[in-house]
Symmetry: D3
Subunit: 131 residues, 6 copies
């Protein structure tokens, strides 16, 4: 499906685009939002959810971006890695942070499979109780 | 394959187990290492790599544990989630940090697939250059 | 490996290509089949299986295409999303159906990871019995 | 993390639990919601999103459940398969529908990898334009 | 869905069960086939395909079992790892082969993600031509 | 991040590049290593690990390459499939071996999901003991 540009968007979509540009202090929106514009309900919901999830809490926004990249690299989502690496850089990610992030992501993906292949049982002390 | 306990381990494996217990200030090793003990070369290499990768750098060890959990939840590795949640908690992860982590992990997995399904092209400004 | 075109295909491969074109009422075959032509046995088996699996049963062919796209988006297979979106459209998928499909796919991928991360135990009433 | 039962839940969480039970005409909530109760914001958002996404639209609710199961089987999420198989059955999924669903899911996962391994290029006519 | 035992199976299913037991020189069938028995068409097709795919060709059956385990560990399919580790052992897999297999699987999963995260472009000389 | 070429690499990185070229008897290094050069510690560790893991043991190097490709196709890592298909071919992989490999990979990915969807319980005789 083609990307929907601002000038051809419905008022409902434009309102979300306007909010994205205002909050992000930019004059354009990423292709992701232009694609989601085919589904105004999902566009609105996803934008609202992203703001709720990615904003500062006990974890700061940069850490959240690193987590986002970790998931995206694990899933092999090129677009997501590209756009969130840009976001992370804007929030202070240094090259060294990125390379450390990738080292952890690589190692976790390796050990996840060693665990699966060896069928390692969960240690008693790591089991959840009260369920 | 059965787990290899300390008393039945080879000297080579015991040396790694001893180092794990000394560095982690504990008197037991997790099942993961007892399983890897079937392959002393991989045991040694993985323990050395884990220490190199997970130690403090530009990212602090707690952030690295969060990234580890993010990957493990994306891959559905129960053992890895269980053991690294324990590690993260030991390093200061609060319940609120965990729930924020999971919210980001969930959202990233959702948007990764929206990107794939809509086949969103990478924005020109996110493309890598100099290659 | 290069794609194998009709004019350079073996008689065994041509027979499958002919059947694909006849059944699909088209005069060309997709690149997928031209690639599989390197392995005539798998080509034949896969084409036979696809017909068996994707044809009308209790689920109609369009629903089966939607399921196919759901899997392909989850796996991030661009080719599969592209070709089966075309098939689905030919069978009546509207833009609205596609956007609803993607919303479900995104949500399922999100909640799948929340379940993994929180290590949610299966409710007693959902457990299989008689095993 | 332990499951949070109704009697120990905060008023905010109880309000969501009450709404789930009312809308689903049942007197209990699934473990998924009891786990998410650790994060009332995500609990509320996820419940609202699920209702929006899974309700009738151009696709009927049963088809949406089938899509949900397809994703969950691809990701290997046992809990998700178990709970949504129950939901799908309640909405009319027959055993035959389930077996056809699984046949498509299996086939799609197979061909997704054949496509990746053979590195099949997207056919020109399946490429997106206007971007 | 419950497992279907021989004594309760339809003649069509029994015929496949009989063939499995005869070919494998055993007097029982694995749970996988008892589950698939709910869908006799998929049961028959899958059994025929497995024999075609897993038998000796240019790759010997043991190598094929190792590949099967590699995929299953990557996907985290416990049942598949368990049953095919048994098959591989029956065909001559030693403990050392298994541990070497897992080391490769772990390493490949690690580097796959480093490649994704760093967005490494395919070297010109690895690109496919003639397409 | 841009690729780091030999002429602009640090002495530490050049030492690894030199070793790669010497061991592989070639006068260039793949893009993967040029990307990892941003993180000399991971570059060195990964190169050392790859040599340890991929060299001849009970499994010969070609079988290890096949396993590597199996994982990469399952993860949809185009770069990894491309570069390791070249390595495998250099070590003796024929076209027929490759097509048999892909048939197994496809089949394993299919049955992995049938197992997940049908929630097939592990057969008693495949369960690990002594744990």
């Amino acid at each position: 499906m083609k990307l929907i540009e601002y000038h051809e968007a419905s008022p409902e979509v434009r309102a979300v685009f306007d909010d994205i540009m205002a909050k992000r202090k930019t004059d354009s929106v990423n292709n992701f939002w232009k694609a989601l514009a085919h589904d105004p309900v999902t566009l609105r919901r996803t934008w609202a959810s992203i703001q709720e999830v990615m904003s500062a809490g006990e974890l700061d926004p940069l850490v959240k971006e690193l987590i986002y990249i970790a998931v995206s690299a694990t899933n092999g989502c090129e677009y997501c890695i590209a756009s969130h690496s840009a976001s992370a850089t804007a929030k202070g990610m240094t090259d060294k942070m990125f390379t450390e992030l990738m080292a952890v992501v690589g190692m976790a993906n390796e050990t996840n499979r060693l665990v699966a292949g060896y069928r390692v049982p969960v240690d008693e002390r790591f089991k959840q109780t009260d369920q």
